[in-house]
Symmetry: C6
């Protein structure tokens, strides 16, 4: 399953951010596993400014976790 998390360690902050986006989406597909249902909801998801801001918050929380896991990439 390509959606599986194998590690929180990334080479760069940019890759860490992309992983954070992936982790935030993973919850949606876990709660709503049917792809058709997700497709139907998609316009509501991206067409609502408040929802997008909230989605950005979820990314921020995961990015915090991933940043800690990588000691903030201080040694890179």
């Amino acid at each position: 399953m390509s959606n599986e998390i194998t590690s929180l360690i990334t080479e760069t902050p940019e890759e860490g951010y992309q992983l954070a986006v992936q982790l935030s989406r993973k919850a949606i597909s876990t709660i709503l596993p049917d792809p058709e249902s997700r497709k139907k909801m998609y316009p509501d998801y991206i067409g609502d400014a408040r929802n997008l801001t909230h989605a950005s918050e979820v990314v921020a929380i995961h990015f915090h976790t991933i940043s800690q896991a990588n000691d903030f990439w201080k040694n890179k």
Copy 2:
């Protein structure tokens, strides 16, 4: 009770994420213990993009806790 948390330690980040999902659901069944009431609310729960984003946030907070508990699986 199968819903009981016995440990925050998991073998992999993937199992940690699944535990985070379980912890986020546990609050709902604690606050609303009647399965019939939860079943009736289920369409509202999964049919609302904003609510799904918020549910993803709850998973993110628990995943942070579990990641810290496992020292971010650095030694795995």
Copy 3:
């Protein structure tokens, strides 16, 4: 007063989670001390999927605090 917090230390993660639920309810009874007012609001509280998700988030934040206090029950 039975609602008073005497310690954040618990024997198990499960007890820690139950304490997190108690701490999240404590704010409601502190802000709205009249039991009759709380009883009247109760259907709104549990009958709204978005509110339940938010309540689950409050539990997640307290559970993080309690997990840290107990060093994630690593030695249990």
Copy 4:
């Protein structure tokens, strides 16, 4: 000014929780300094289940900060 924070250190978790409630209210009186305006808004504030849940979240965040400041009252 009685509303001033002089310390985050408290004797007990219960006092820490009460301080968290106080800190969450302090932002409201800082943003809305006029007592008459706050009084008019009060029914909206306490009469809305979603708002109460959100207020409980603010308390949870401050309680986390205060718990860290007191090393979770481990030595008490």
Copy 5:
């Protein structure tokens, strides 16, 4: 520019709290730089109990950061 952050270190928790309020406002003026637009939105901002609670949450998050930066003012 008077709005610039020069340091997270403050003498007292009270000053730390005031800095947290300032940091939470700074995002608004960064996103909405036109003072006229902010003035027009102001009644919506302070006239909505839910928004005030959310604003209090933003202050709580910044206050956590500032409290950590100052080692919770333990040595003061």
Copy 6:
């Protein structure tokens, strides 16, 4: 791609705050990559007090991460 994060380390808290704003916007452009769609949503985004407060929260979370990465700029 100018939007790429190369480091969380900044010279000053002010630069750290500006990076936090950039990280909060980055999620929006990742989720909604089409610039035309973002332009159409922009009035909703900045014209809603609740959304602005939420956006300020996202900045606060990223600023916390960046502040930790920079050890709160204590040595500057």
